[in-house]
C-alpha cells in the first residue's frame, strides 16, 4: 500500500512521500492520509456490494427463480443494500473527499481532532470486518431495513453480527460529523468567514448535523433489536404487546435523513465543479447554503413516508405526505441555481463537468419520482415495487455516485499530483451514463406495471425489461472499473499536475499538488469572496487533454 503511493513529484516533499512504511500510514493522524485509507476501504466495499448486485441482476435475467433459492436471494439483496449504504454511500464523500479537502479549503493544518479522525477509520474497519464476517458466516436476509419482528423473532441468520457491524460503522459516522462541525466552527483561517466558505464545506456542515443527531437513533434501534433477539424482550413483538412499527419509526428517523447524508456532499461537489467549468461564481450563494441546511432540517420531518402502507394512522400519513413535498423545495432551488450558474458561463466539457451534467439530470428525475411516491394515492400502488427501487437508485447512483466520480476526477490532481487520462475519463463517464439509465429506467416501468421488489422470480411479461436492466448493469460495471484502472495507472504514468490545473477557485488550488503534510507553506489569509472566477485566469491549456 505504501509503495504504491510513491510518486515522483520531483524534490518537493508532500504528504505522500513525507514518511514511509506501513506504520506511518496505519498510525497516521494526517487527514489526507486518512482520506486515502478510507478511499481504499470504501472502494473495496463498493466492489463487494457491486458483486451482490451482479448476482441479483443475473438471477433476474429469467422469470423463474433458477439461479438461487428465494432465501439465498433474500440474502443477496440484503447484503447488497447493507454493504452499499453503510459501507459505501454514507462514508464515501465525507470520509474521502471531505476529510481530504475540508481543512485545506478553510486554510487549516488539519481537522480539529486528528486522532478521532483515525479512530473513525478504525471503527469503520471494525464494522466492515463484522460485515465481512456476517457475509462469510452465511449472510443475513432481513432486508437492509432489519424490520421486526422478522429480524427479532423469525430468522436464525446472522442478524446480530450485521446489526453490530452497522452500529460500529454508525459511530464512525458520528465522530466524522462531530469532527467536521468543530473544524468548520473553530479552525477557519483569518478572513475565511462563513460567507466565503465553498459550498463543498457548507454541504459537509449540513451533512454533519444529520450524522451527529440522526445516527444515534438508529444505533439505539439496533441495540434494542439485538437485546430483543438475545433476551426475547418483546419491545417490537406484537405477541408480547409490542409494536413492530415502533422499530420502523426509530429506524426511519435516521434512515431517511441518511439519504441526505449521502446526497448533500454530492451537491457540494457539483457546486464546485459547475462553477469551475462555467468560469462563473455560483448563482445565489446564500440560497444555496440555506438550501443545504434546509434539506438537512426538513429531511428529519418526513421519515414515515417509508411507512405509508405499514399501518400508521391515516392522519399521520397525511402529515408526512405534506412534509415530504416540502423537502423537495430546497433541492429544486439548487437545481435551478446550478442551471442559472451555467447560463452565459464559459462552459468546457472535461470529465468532472460531464458527470455534473449527468448529476443534474439524473438527480432531477430521481427527485421528481420521489414526489410521485410522496403522494399517498400513487404510493399505495407502487410501494414495494421496482418503481421505488428505480427512484432511489436514480438519486443514490445517478446522483450521489455520479457526484462522487465527478469529485474524484476534479480533485484527483490535487490528491495524487497526477492528471488522469482525459479521453478515458470521458469514455468512462459516457459508459456510466448510458449503463446507468439502461439499468434503472426500465425499472420505473416495471414497477409501474406491478413487479414487486425483493422477489427472485417474476411473471414472464416482465422479462424484456429485466434483460435490458441486466444489460445496462454490465455496461455500468465497465464504466465503474475504468476509473479504477486509469487512476491507478496515472499514479505512476500520468503527467504531473500543476497546483491548479483547472484554474479553479478555492484555497485547495493555492497549494501544491499534492499538498505538503501541513497543507500550506504559509498560513493563508483570505481577502477574496468565494468563486472569484472574475479574478482567476482561465487555465492556459486543457490540462490532461489527449
Amino acid at each position: 500500500m505504501a509503495t504504491a503511493a510513491v510518486v515522483e513529484t520531483g524534490e518537493r516533499e508532500n504528504y505522500l512521500n513525507a514518511t514511509y512504511g506501513l506504520k506511518s500510514w496505519l498510525l497516521t493522524v494526517d487527514h489526507k492520509r486518512i482520506a486515502l485509507l478510507y478511499l481504499i476501504s470504501i472502494t473495496f466495499f463498493f466492489f463487494i456490494g457491486g458483486f451482490f448486485a451482479l448476482l441479483i441482476r443475473l438471477e433476474l435475467l429469467t422469470p423463474a427463480g433458477d439461479l438461487v433459492q428465494s432465501d439465498v436471494y433474500n440474502k443477496l439483496f440484503t447484503m447488497h443494500g447493507q454493504v452499499m449504504i453503510f459501507f459505501f454511500l454514507i462514508p464515501a464523500v465525507p470520509a474521502v473527499l471531505g476529510n481530504f479537502l475540508i481543512p485545506i479549503m478553510i486554510g487549516a493544518k488539519d481537522l480539529a481532532f486528528p486522532k478521532i479522525n483515525l479512530l473513525s477509520w478504525y471503527l469503520y474497519i471494525i464494522g466492515g470486518t463484522l460485515m465481512i464476517y456476517t457475509i462469510l458466516a452465511g449472510g443475513v436476509d432481513t432486508g437492509w431495513t432489519f424490520y421486526t419482528p422478522l429480524s427479532t423473532e423469525f430468522l436464525d441468520t446472522n442478524v446480530i453480527s450485521a446489526a453490530l457491524a452497522v452500529f460500529v460503522a454508525g459511530f464512525s459516522s458520528i465522530l466524522t460529523g462531530l469532527n467536521f462541525i468543530v473544524t468548520i466552527h473553530r479552525m477557519r483561517a483569518p478572513g475565511m468567514t462563513w460567507n466565503r466558505l465553498p459550498l463543498f464545506v457548507w454541504s459537509h456542515y449540513a451533512t454533519s448535523i444529520i450524522q451527529v443527531l440522526g445516527t444515534p437513533v438508529v444505533a439505539i434501534a439496533i441495540v434494542l433489536v439485538a437485546l430483543e433477539r438475545l433476551l426475547h424482550l418483546g419491545i417490537f413483538n406484537p405477541a408480547l404487546g409490542g409494536d413492530p412499527l415502533l422499530f420502523q419509526h426509530l429506524f426511519w428517523f435516521y434512515s431517511h435523513p441518511a439519504v441526505y447524508i449521502m446526497i448533500l456532499p454530492g451537491m457540494g461537489i457539483i457546486s464546485e465543479v459547475v462553477c469551475c467549468f462555467s468560469r462563473k461564481r455560483i448563482f445565489g450563494y446564500k440560497a444555496m447554503a440555506l438550501a443545504l441546511l434546509g434539506i438537512a432540517v426538513i429531511g428529519f420531518l418526513v421519515w414515515a413516508h417509508h411507512m405509508f402502507v405499514a399501518g400508521i394512522s391515516l392522519y399521520a400519513a397525511l402529515v408526512f405526505s405534506l412534509l415530504t413535498y416540502f423537502v423537495g423545495v430546497p433541492s429544486a432551488i439548487k437545481v435551478f441555481n446550478w442551471t442559472a450558474t451555467m447560463y452565459k458561463g464559459s462552459i468546457t466539457y472535461q470529465t468532472p463537468m460531464l458527470y455534473a451534467f449527468a448529476f443534474i439530470g439524473l438527480f432531477t428525475i430521481g427527485g421528481l419520482t420521489g414526489l410521485f411516491l410522496a403522494s399517498l394515492g400513487i404510493d399505495v400502488h407502487v410501494t414495494d415495487t421496482y418503481f421505488v427501487v428505480a427512484h432511489f437508485h436514480y438519486v443514490m447512483v445517478g446522483g450521489m455516485v455520479v457526484a462522487y466520480l465527478a469529485g474524484m476526477h476534479f480533485w484527483w490532481p490535487k490528491i495524487s499530483g497526477r492528471m488522469y487520462p482525459e479521453g478515458w475519463g470521458k469514455l468512462a463517464a459516457l459508459l456510466v451514463f448510458v449503463g446507468f439509465n439502461l439499468t434503472f429506467f426500465p425499472q420505473f416501468i416495471l414497477g409501474y406495471m406491478g413487479m414487486p421488489r425483493r422477489y427472485h422470480a417474476y411473471p414472464p411479461e416482465f422479462q424484456v425489461l429485466n434483460v435490458l436492466s441486466t444489460a445496462g448493469a454490465t455496461v455500468l460495471a465497465v464504466g465503474y472499473l475504468l476509473p479504477m484502472v486509469y487512476f491507478l495507472w496515472s499514479m505512476r504514468y500520468g503527467p504531473l499536475a500543476p497546483a491548479n490545473p483547472w484554474g479553479a477557485a478555492g484555497l485547495e488550488w493555492q497549494t501544491s499538488s499534492p499538498p505538503p503534510t501541513f497543507n500550506f507553506e504559509d498560513q493563508p489569509v483570505v481577502t477574496w469572496e468565494a468563486y472569484n472566477y472574475d479574478e482567476i485566469p482561465d487555465p492556459e491549456e486543457d490540462p490532461g487533454a489527449n
Binding site: 479552525m187 412499527l245 419509526h249 420531518l301 414515515a304 400508521i312 394512522s313 392522519y315
Partner: protein
Amino acid sequence: MSDHDSSSEHISSIGSSIAIWIALLVGTVVTVLAANTDLGPFNIIVALTIATIKATLVVLFFMHVKYTHEKLVPLVIVSAIFFLFLLLGLSMADYATRLWH
C-alpha cells in the same frame, strides 16, 4: 482565528454552587411529595416540569452555559432538544391518531 471567550474562564463560587445544589435537592423532595398527591392529569406535568427546571439549573450553572458569551453552545443544546421533540412528537402523531375514524 476563531478565538472565543469560552465559558471555562468563569470560576464558580462555592456559594452559588451550594445554592444550586440545595435547589436541586428541594426539587427532588417536591417531586416525590407531588407524586404521592393526587393532582389528576397534572401529576405528569408537575413531575416533568420540576425535572426540566432541575436539568436547566444543571446546564446553566453546573455546566457553565450561563457564563458562555457566544451562542453556539446554547444553539447545540436547543437543536438536540428540538430534534428529540421531533422524534417524540411526530411518532406520537401516529400513535395518538391510530384510533381516530
